[in-house]
Every structure is written in structure tokens, then in C-alpha cells.
Symmetry: C2
Subunit: 607 residues, 2 copies
């Protein structure tokens, strides 16, 4: 279907917005009136620019408070409307959004509203313009799309139809199924927005917290399916008011917005009965595990020391690059010193194992994801990668029975991989925690969902000494890949002691106490945990004192969920990251969130 | 009354919090358990530190889900409690907060809850500890302080009393008058928080949006009056969960918090029937006008050019400082090049006229406001000043019949002040818009309210091309002093073209068209306004075309509110500020908020 977006979704000037929408691949835009009023360009210039960029100007919006008024007020409505219709002619536009009356309505009567819409339609028709009437969720009398449609039916004028906005319908809990009873040609326009589940007044919710499709909790695929079945053939258009998107880079946001519509069209097409005419994405199965984690720095020696203490095997240097490979069990860590002058250790990339990498590459391209470049020589394995919204590169390669083929490019290593994992050693990467700027997290959720098929599972908040850190976990359906995304509070950027800013790689082991003991014997500095924590453990869980004493001796933290238990310990922060080691017992499925404030404070104290 | 604060209100480590609370003048603190658990210091060290700092440890909190459970669960409650009571003994603490059950309650029966609280009190008494039972607004069964008190009455144990929290009571709309029916000695503790009027679920409202007293919409003076009349003699303690305060500097927040309690005690004392024992602040009348605006820069020439174009009179140089005075009517602008190497023009200070400056100085000191230092020589006028939360200095001097005495310190000027204001010239400073970092605005509201007696009047949001700017206006009761505080979105800090970051001084005139015409003739660059704006003006207001053409020719913006009208024009941005010129007709009382997006976009385009 054709795609469109309201200019109010984006930051910048009107001209900047048009360029960004065209570049992101939108077919058209809705012109938000205040954007035009504030623009120095004349309507004729905007019209010509849109034409050169190949963008249609789909909808002029909004015209407010046009019906449900007394006749004196309606005369003023017609005067206003005539001026706006003349302006729309200069823009070459033929569709205007009229919202149900919020401010000036005094007459609660469908016949009156219909009569006024009909006369407004008559005036519009003289300019070659049509009117799309929309029920706002907080309209004074008309706040339900079904009533808006009744009024449009009564108006019975070819220039008067309805506009359907998913937010206004789904936020009120109205059943969208009745959309199918509206003839498709009477649906003049469709606006889409997602939103998180929230309990707050619907106006504030709408103005500040809308999200692009796929980022919130509305079932927009079902919504669009109703629209398609009704016979609507116009564009799917985004109207998303959000405090964040108004501040972020207009070009990145436009790409992100376009991706959400592409994903939504596919999700709608998956409902078999609406497949006709909708474009599908290439199907790509979700990842089945972590391939590697890549840590980059000018000098990675500090990480090498740490990996040695943890029993990792040095697997040698890459044939052509200053890159080394370390492994323990199925956990592979790549240390990269290429193009890293001045950089301290940080997580630069993660690799995922997928059944068919080529399909994922195709899908990523269809979703407008730039594929990252890595210099590759003949006979070297090519892994494709995409840049995540936080800047981390996500690679994907083929899952295989043994080690992946790219590992053979490393030379002069010691030890065979199978020997490298003693009973108490690391067996795999358990999860990787990424740090998301607050502006990027909604985009990140859509990125991991739409491209990789990960699923968002809940959201928690962790109190640190420098602010609340919101954590949202993305995971593969089977749980093999887990990416907690930690959202950094705005204030963090200006501060120094910010453990909350660090990324981390968590390795799974089968005996956390054994691993901690062995690593400490080899000199590892385990993050020190305060004694008060262990006193509290005893009070909370009633654990056996000898067990708690051992946890305290080793610096281990503990959590319990029913019968399931979690043991974890941490390194201090090296550069911009740290490592965690976890033992999951009896199917423990969390991340020890209750321990996070203690860890954050301990890391802050050590800096 | 004694003052206390929960450590959860502040950022930093527990030790940092204790130091900040002591320095800000608090008498005691509530220990928030997770702060202690995460601290490396032993309970004995915390106890000793608090003792050295002169802080009492008033309340250990929270203990959750202790009553309304079956007997098996209650055995576990007693086990947990015993461990915590032992810990409290190590801290030397004797009061613990028990919240009404949220998570594990299964028995909705006052007699059962009372019996369990009695047994818990019996256990506590053995440790010399008392229990303050509090109804949470979202308690499973007990969510009303009146029911909590009934249960405490039934428990009938000397170690069991109630804790009253203003948020839990006022957020639910419960009448606080019944507090007076509780014997004062049974009120073991009182926690205070303000909050903005919001429609959202009470748990999120409580966790993220509490404010210090005087910053929100609760009538806390009435609340505390009830508590005092009940005979309560313990501390007034702040428990304010707020995402912002958790991120701001702990020392500044502690001073700010202490000021809110000092202000609240005074506000409570003003209710004649509760005056006994409460400490009053020095009374100081609100300001009656602007004295001056001070603009500081290494080189203020660009501002001098602008003021000349606007018809200001150069009043000469200060006797001892590189400072000049310019005036037009009652509008005085001080240009300051002292200690300004490398600084671009910015608003450094504003002066206010008050009836009795010495009283205001005394009041400011009582509220913990640091008085700013300015070098003053013999025979020079001393003006006291306080640093506002955004860094601007606020001076105050005596209102007088003619010009204030300090103006005589300027020499070699031209023209007498009375001649300096032609019919179309500037007559006064109308308002000064300050730019508030998002972290500082709540503190700023309390600062201007409590110290200066300004009143907050509403809040609006202005869409700019780089994000929403929230604007909150502080004004004197008579309207002579108006300070719109513009809250900068977090994202602005990283961006360049940020008109939203600029401060501005708005001057009032009686003929904006005449002033604009004269200033343009003298070469002033008036901010250019797009033609689309004037097309929209015609559509919106149906104005006479000749009038709109004149507005457009001169770059004037227009607003109307009933019969009242507003004309305004702007300069471009110079350094970090710009100037506005306004004509208020027929008592127009606003600021042309609808024009702000156009102005912001125009200023962004010109940078």
C-alpha cells in the first residue's frame, strides 16, 4: 500500500522534513498546518519541492471545530474554510482533515453536524477538495468513529468521507470490526499510531506517548486488516505525536517510521484473508544463539588478562587483521584492535547464529536497514551486519553443528576448543546488555522485532544512585538470545561515575562458585559486594548461613523465583564494559533485577 | 518543627546523602533500606557517621506485606522482622515503617490485621522498637488512613502507631480532617510530598512525579495544620520519589528540599489556629516592578547598537566598573563587561523593586538561599542578590518615586532619562523569559514562590522544530513582574540551532508599529516572519487586509483574546539572548503563545 506520514511526527523545518521523508522512501506526506505557517517558503515552493522529490501531498490537517455549532458560528467556519481551501489550491492539495468538535460545539445533534458537513463539503467541492471527518477520542460530542460515520452517511455528499485514526479508536477500546461496514470509497484516509499501555488521560497519552506501529501494545495488524477488508485503497499514514521523535534527527526518524509501516503491511498480510495486494517481507527464522561478542579497543590487553583468569582459551590472531579470538565452550569473544586508536574497551558488535543468513540480509534490506561494511579478503567468511540504533553492530552467520567456519581464520592459538571448558568454566554467552540512549529505545525495540524476530518481554526499572534505569528485554522465542536494553536517563550523559552507562556481556556457567573460586585464584578482581547485602539475603530468603557465607566470600549475588535460583558475579568496569557470570538453576528465567541497584552502587564506588 | 528527609529522595551514595542532608540543615533522615543494603559501610559506621554529623536516624523503611496474611505466612513475616529489628539495633534506630499489604494479603479483616500488628509490635518492643503503620494508596485491602488508624486502635499495643503520608491521603482525595481524631501520640511519623495535578494511575504518579511541598497542587499547609492540631510533635519528613531529583546534584537537592519544609512550616503557621510552636519566616512584600535587566559579555557593542536603534538613551559608564546603563522610560538595561572574557551576550541578572529590601534579604537567608557577592565600593549602592536555580542572579532594591539611587553612579551619559522615551518608545520591561534546564524548573518554581512571593500561573507547551518547550509563568500578584520559565527538553543540550535555549527580555511600548518603523529606519534587523503566517492570520481572525499588510511589512505578530489584542516583534538572537517588544491593548494578559512556534522556527532559520 502507499505510505505517508504527517510532518508533525518529525523534527526540523518543513523543507528538512520533506527531504527526509523522500529519502526514507515514503510516497507522500500529510502537511501539518503549523509547519506550513512557520515556513518561509511559499505554498507554491512547497508544492514544487514535493513534486521534485516525488512526494504526494496527501492530507492538509487539521481543520478544527467545524460542526455542531450554531448558525452564526458556522458562518465564521465557512469564512475560515474558504481561506484554507484557497491555500490548499495553491499547494495543489485535494483532501483536508476535519476533526470532530472539541472547543466550540454547542449542538449535540447528528442532523445538525451532518447538515453543516454537507455545506462545508459543497464549498470544498467548488475548490476540487474533499473533507475527511474524524472522531477525536476527546471530541465534545462525537468521540467514536461509528458516530462519525453515521454523520457522514447523513451528510450524503460525495466530497465528505471519514478519516480513521487507530489511536482515537483503540485508545478508547472501541471495536474496530465495524470499519468493515463502511464502504471503502467512503474512507478517505487512514492514520496509524501505536501506543504503550498506560493509564492516563487520553489527551496527554495521545499528545506525548504515541509510538510507531510495532512499538506499543495496539494490535495494528488487526486494525489494518479491517481497513483493507472494507476496500480502502488510499495510503497508510503515520500520525505519531511523541516528545522523543520531535527531538531526534529527522532523517533517522523517517527511516525508522518507514520501517514500521513496512513491517505492519507484512504483519497484516500474514492474516491470510487480507493478503491480496499487500507486500510481504522475506521470511527469516529467529536467531538460535549467540555467535560471538566483539570487544574493540586500541589495546585489548586488560580484557585478555581477564579472559585468561576466567579460563578462556586463546585461539590465535586473525590472518589479516589485528583481531584475536578467545573461547570457552560455545562462548566466543573477539578482541579487535583495528581502527581503534584512542578507543577504550567497549562492546562493538555481537554475532547471532541464524538458520539462513541470506534471507535475513534480504529482509533487513527490505526494512531499510543499512548493511554495515567490513573489509573482507578472498577466502574469508563474509558475515553481514546491521547497525543497531545504539551504534552496536549486529552480525549474523549460519548456525552449524560445530564451530562456525569463520573461526578457522584465526592462527597460532593454543589449546583445542573442546578442552577449553573445564567443569566450572563458561559454557556460553547468556545475554548481552546494551545501553540505549533514551531517544533510541523505541526504535531499538522495532529494530530487533522487525528485522531479527526477537520479542519484547516486559520492562523493569532499576534504581541506581544516579537515577532510574529502565530495562527492556528482547529475546528470541526459544530464549537462546537475550538482549536487555538499558535505557539511560537523560541526566546520565552529563555525569561521571556512571555504571549505568556500561554495556555488559553475561556468560553462563554450570558452577558459579567453582568459576569464581578458580578465577580469583588466577587473580581476577571480582566486584566487591557489601556485607549489608548478605545480611539482607539472610533476612529475605532464610538461606542456610554456610551457603550465604560462601556467597559473601566469593562476591556472589543470589536471587530466587519459586524453586528456581540464580547465582551471579561481576567484574569491575574495564573501559566502557564489564562481564557477568551467571548460573541458572531449575529454569530461572530472569536477570536478578533486585540485585542491580547493589551492583550499580558497587561499580560506582569503585570508579 | 524538626525536619527529616528520606534518603530515597536524593541521588548519590548513602554517605553522600548523609553529608548533604546535614549540610542543608536537616535534623534527621529516614533510612531507605535499599540505600543501606547497597552501602559498603557497616550499620555501625552509618550510625557513627550520622551521630558525628548531628543527624538523627528517624525511621527505617519500608517493611512490606506484614499483615492481612494467613498464619503460615505470618510466621515468615516474624522471622524476617526479627532479622530487621536486630539490624535496626545495630543502627541505633527505634522506629520502622510498615506499609499496608500490597502483594501477599489474603485476609480482608481488620481483626486479623490488628492481631498480627499487635504480635509484630510485641516482638518489636523486645528490641525497643516501635512500628508506624501506613495505608498505601494502592494497598490491597487497606488504602485509607482512617482504616489504618482503626486497625492500630484495635491492635492496642503501645509499640504500634500510624504513619501519615500526605501523598497517599491527598492523591486519593481523602479528607485529611479526620487526622485530628487521632491522638497525637499515636501518630508515630508524618511524611510529606506534593504532586502536580495529573490523571494517571496512582502508583506511577507516586513513583515518578512527587514534588517537594510548594511545587505541586496539594494543600499541604492545611494537611500539616491537621497534624499539628492532632498534637503530633515528631518531625516533618519529606518522602519524594521523583525521576528528576534522583539525577540532580545531591547537595543542591538537599538545600532545595530543606527550603520547601521551611516554607511549609511558615505557610502552616499563617493559619492562626495552628501558630503555636511553628516558626515563621520574615514577611516580605512581593516585588512591584522590574528595576533593570543586566546583559553581560566580553564585548557588549552589538547590544549597544540594538538599544540605540530602539531609541534607548546611553546613560554613561559606572564610576568604578566597565558597566554602562541604558534606559527608555522605566526600562533600564545594564551592560556589563566585567569578568566577562570569552563570554557572548547573555542575561546575567535581573533587578526587582521591592518595598523593603532588608526584609527580603532576611527572608532569603532563612530559606537557605545563598546571597550572591558583588564587589561594592564605599558610597555605592549595595543591592543584595540571590542565585536562581538556572544561574541567573536576582537582585532587589528599594522602589522609589523616581529612578533608583544606584543610577547616579553612572557618568558621562547623554540625555536626561525623561527625554529618552518618545511617544513610540519603550516604556518598561514587560517580562523576562528565563531558560530552565529540565532538572531545575521545579526548584525554580519554589524559589520564586517562597523567596519572592511570585505566583505560578499555568503552564503551556510550545512546539518548536526541535521539541516541545514547556513554559511556566511566575508573576507578582499585581502583574508588574512576569517571568516565563521555559523548560528546555533534554535533547536540546546536544543540538546547535536552538532558539529554544535563548533567554529574552520583552519591553513594553504603547505603539509597536511606530516603534518597529522607527527602529527599522535606524537600521534594526527585525526578525523576518514568513508570509504564510499572515495568510493564516487573515483566515483565523478575519482582520482588515490593510492592517495585516502593515503587520507583515513591519514583521509584527498578532494575537487576540476576546477584545484584548497583542502586538509583538522580535530581534534576532545575539549571543544567547534576543529582545521582544510588545504592545498590550485592552488588558491583554498573555504572551502570544500561539505565535511562539513561528518565532522559534524563524530564529532557527536565521542562525
Amino acid at each position: 500500500m502507499r505510505t505517508s506520514i504527517a510532518t508533525v511526527c518529525l523534527s526540523g523545518t518543513l523543507v528538512e522534513k520533506l527531504h527526509a521523508c523522500a529519502r526514507a522512501g515514503f510516497d507522500g506526506v500529510e502537511i501539518f498546518e503549523p509547519d506550513l505557517v512557520a515556513a518561509p517558503e511559499s505554498p507554491e515552493e512547497i508544492r514544487a519541492l514535493a513534486s521534485r522529490l516525488g512526494l504526494t501531498l496527501d492530507l492538509y490537517q487539521p481543520m478544527r471545530d467545524v460542526e455542531g455549532v450554531d448558525e452564526a458560528a458556522f458562518a465564521e467556519v465557512l469564512r475560515r474554510a474558504e481561506a484554507k481551501f484557497a491555500l490548499m489550491q495553491r499547494l495543489g492539495m485535494d483532501l483536508v482533515l476535519c476533526c470532530s468538535n472539541v472547543g466550540s460545539a454547542t449542538v449535540d445533534d447528528d442532523a445538525v453536524s451532518a447538515s453543516q458537513l454537507r455545506r462545508l463539503g459543497e464549498l470544498a467541492a467548488g475548490f476540487g477538495i474533499r473533507i475527511a471527518y474524524e472522531a477525536l477520542a476527546w471530541g465534545r460530542y462525537v468521540d467514536d468513529y461509528r458516530r462519525a460515520w453515521r454523520i457522514v452517511e447523513l451528510a450524503a455528499h460525495p466530497a465528505v468521507g471519514v478519516c480513521l485514526d487507530s489511536f482515537h479508536i483503540l485508545s478508547r477500546g472501541h471495536d474496530p470490526a465495524a470499519i468493515e461496514q463502511i464502504p471503502g470509497e467512503r474512507i478517505f484516509f487512514v492514520q496509524l499510531a501505536d501506543a504503550p499501555a498506560m493509564t492516563m488521560d487520553v489527551l496527554s497519552w495521545s499528545r506525548h506517548h504515541r509510538l510507531f506501529p510495532g512499538e506499543g501494545s495496539f494490535d495494528l495488524a488487526a486494525f489494518v486488516a479491517h481497513v483493507v477488508r472494507a476496500g480502502y485503497t488510499g495510503p497508510l499514514s503515520l500520525e505519531v505525536f511523541n516528545d522523543t521523535f520531535r527531538q531526534t534527527d529527522v532523517r533517522a526518524t523517517a527511516v525508522h517510521a518507514r520501517r514500521s509501516l513496512r513491517w505492519l503491511e507484512d504483519a497484516t498480510a500474514r492474516r491470510a484473508d487480507t493478503a491480496g495486494g499487500l507486500v510481504r517481507l522475506t521470511e527469516s527464522a529467529a536467531p538460535t544463539g549467540f555467535d560471538f561478542a566483539e570487544i574493540k579497543a586500541e589495546d585489548t590487553s586488560a580484557i585478555e588478562v581477564m579472559l585468561t583468569q576466567l579460563g578462556f582459551t586463546p585461539r590465535g590472531r586473525h590472518r589479516t587483521k589485528p583481531v584475536t579470538l578467545w573461547s570457552s565452550g560455545a562462548a566466543r569473544v573477539v578482541l579487535n584492535e583495528q581502527h581503534a586508536v584512542g578507543l577504550s574497551p567497549h562492546l562493538a558488535a555481537i554475532g547471532l547464529l541464524v538458520p539462513e543468513p541470506a534471507l535475513l540480509t534480504e529482509r533487513a534490506r527490505e526494512l531499510g536497514t543499512p548493511i554495515a561494511y567490513r573489509r573482507t579478503y578472498a577466502a574469508e567468511q563474509v558475515l553481514d551486519a546491521a547497525g543497531a540504533p545504539d551504534g552496536t553492530e549486529i552480525f549474523w552467520g549460519a548456525a552449524a553443528a560445530g564451530e562456525p567456519a569463520w573461526t578457522t581464520e584465526f592462527e597460532h592459538g593454543t589449546g583445542a576448543p573442546a578442552d577449553a571448558s573445564p567443569a566450572s568454566g563458561v559454557v556460553a554467552i547468556d545475554h548481552v546488555s546494551l545501553t540505549e540512549p533514551w531517544q533510541a529505545v523505541d526504535e531499538a525495540v522495532l529494530f530487533y522485532t522487525s528485522v531479527f524476530g526477537l520479542e519484547p518481554v516486559g520492562s523493569t526499572e532499576v534504581a541506581s544512585s544516579q537515577g532510574l534505569v529502565q530495562s527492556r528485554v528482547m529475546r528470541s522465542p526459544g530464549g537462546e538470545v537475550r538482549l536487555p536494553l538499558n535505557v539511560v536517563p537523560a541526566g546520565f550523559a552529563q555525569r561521571s561515575r556512571d555504571a549505568g552507562l556500561a554495556q555488559h556481556v553475561a556468560f553462563r556457567c554450570t558452577d558459579a562458585r567453582g568459576l569464581a573460586r578458580a578465577a580469583r585464584a588466577r587473580g581476577l578482581d571480582v566486584l566487591p559486594i557489601p556485607g549489608n547485602y548478605y545480611d539482607d539475603l539472610v533476612a529475605r530468603f532464610g538461606l542456610e548461613p554456610g551457603f550465604v557465607a560462601e556467597l559473601q566470600e566469593l562476591g556472589l549475588l543470589y536471587d530466587r523465583d519459586g524453586e528456581a535460583e540464580y547465582l551471579q558475579f561481576y567484574t569491575g568496569i574495564v573501559g566502557q564494559l564489564f562481564c557477568e557470570f551467571v548460573e541458572r538453576r531449575a529454569g530461572y528465567d530472569g536477570y536478578g533485577a533486585g540485585n542491580a541497584p547493589v551492583r550499580l552502587t558497587a561499580q560506582g564506588a569503585g570508579r
